[in-house]
Amino acid sequence: MAAPDSPSTALRRRDLCSRGIRLAGKMRADVVDLLDTYVEQQGLDASASVAAVEGVPLAAVERWDEQTGTQRLLENLAAYRAFRALLAQMLEEQREQLGEADAGLGRALAAVLLQVSAFAYHLEELLRLESRGVPSEEEDGPPPLPRLSLFEQKLRGLGVLRELAQWAVRSARDLRQLAKPSPATGTGPGLAESP
């Protein structure tokens, strides 16, 4: 069992978590706005059900409250790395299709991509804080994305943004769990223990 935190580590984690929660909140707001724009401009139906799209990390999780802190961080990191690649692909596809015709959507996509990258880095910092090995990109990197038809690309984009909006909420919840002081020592629990 990992030794509980030193006060400075707990303080540092608390700080990283609260900044991460704010970043997740901002990211979610921007993703929800982007989702509305995306649906409208791609001519999609906002209420359409989108089956799980290959390569898009699902935010849905069972027994979420039983996860350890490490599980939370590793799953989050893997997800945001995948979103980084997916959003980059979306941006590229979007430029190919529309060129500069719709710079607004492109800028919004790029802004969210930036936030996703920042959040992934934030998660890596948290893992480093716990002297946890940060998985290398290859080890953790998403599989290459299949080339899709235009309509399939649009549906995948919808699926990506929807899942990212859910992940942003999940991440804020995960970080709140991590930030919770350990009942015993009043400092942050070792990551392995924190449910």
Binding site: R28, V50, E62, Q166
Partner: protein, 314 residues
Amino acid sequence: DSHIQYERVGADVTMKCGSMDWDAAVTWTANGTDIDESHLNGSYLILKNVDLSQSGQYSCYEGSSWHLKYQTNLRVGTPPKEPVLMCRSNNYPKGFYCSWHLPTPTYIPNTFNISVVHGTKDMVCEKDAVPKNRCHIRYIQLFSTVKYKVTLTVTNALGKNFTTLTFDEFAIVKPDPPESVVAKPVPNNPRRLEVSWQNPSSWPEPESFPLKFFLRYRPLILDQWQHVELSDGTSHTITDAYAGKEYIIQVAAKDNDIGTWSDWSVAVHATPWTEEPKHLTTEAQITETTSASTSSFMAPPTTKICDKGAVVGS
């Protein structure tokens, strides 16, 4: 062979006297009272355009022997209209409940059947003993983009109807109102009121799933509310109250990230602290006032808990 016979309001009803011939001499009673011959066609009882008041026990007796030949309980009612269904999570992330009612009564027994599907998974909806028209579903998955589909079917002897709700996990999250709202004057501060409250007891994990709050207050003499949103903590000091005016105060809650605002809490009333009036008094009264004023310096809170006040969104 007594049994129950259901008929729609407005229907024409014909009752045969069991196995008796059409031309047999019989007597019909409704709840023990003889029925006028004008309602008979031979031994058949004819009831035109029945209404609710004609529900009751109908009996047919053979003319001479007074043997009971037929008995039925006539229940006049209506088929169910489309039920009204509502689903809500007031204890997120534990689960959600669905409750339902019929827009108009049917006057006859109805049975309700509810099905809850999440993607392709059927979920169990545990019915409450009381109230009967409610059941609970436990979240198995959190943070899902897959929608929930709830279908409620209502059936009675005269017909069947159903309604369906489709929603996202986050959309139905609506906490209960904050509890234990207290408002107190702040001694020596004629324009301040201290308000405190508690998370709704039904909200299971306020630490991991924090609530934010919305406070509204106004002097009784005005209609215009003032609002303040508070992203954490369960207390607030109003600093711009009109001196000496009684205030009405309410609080609402919402999950920090998802869902909608609760209804407003019960309203509480309070009046800011006011200076004790100074009198031109004789020596005797000064000593008396001095001893009295130390005890009255701390003006007793004028908080009065009122009945349920206005509701968010109404």
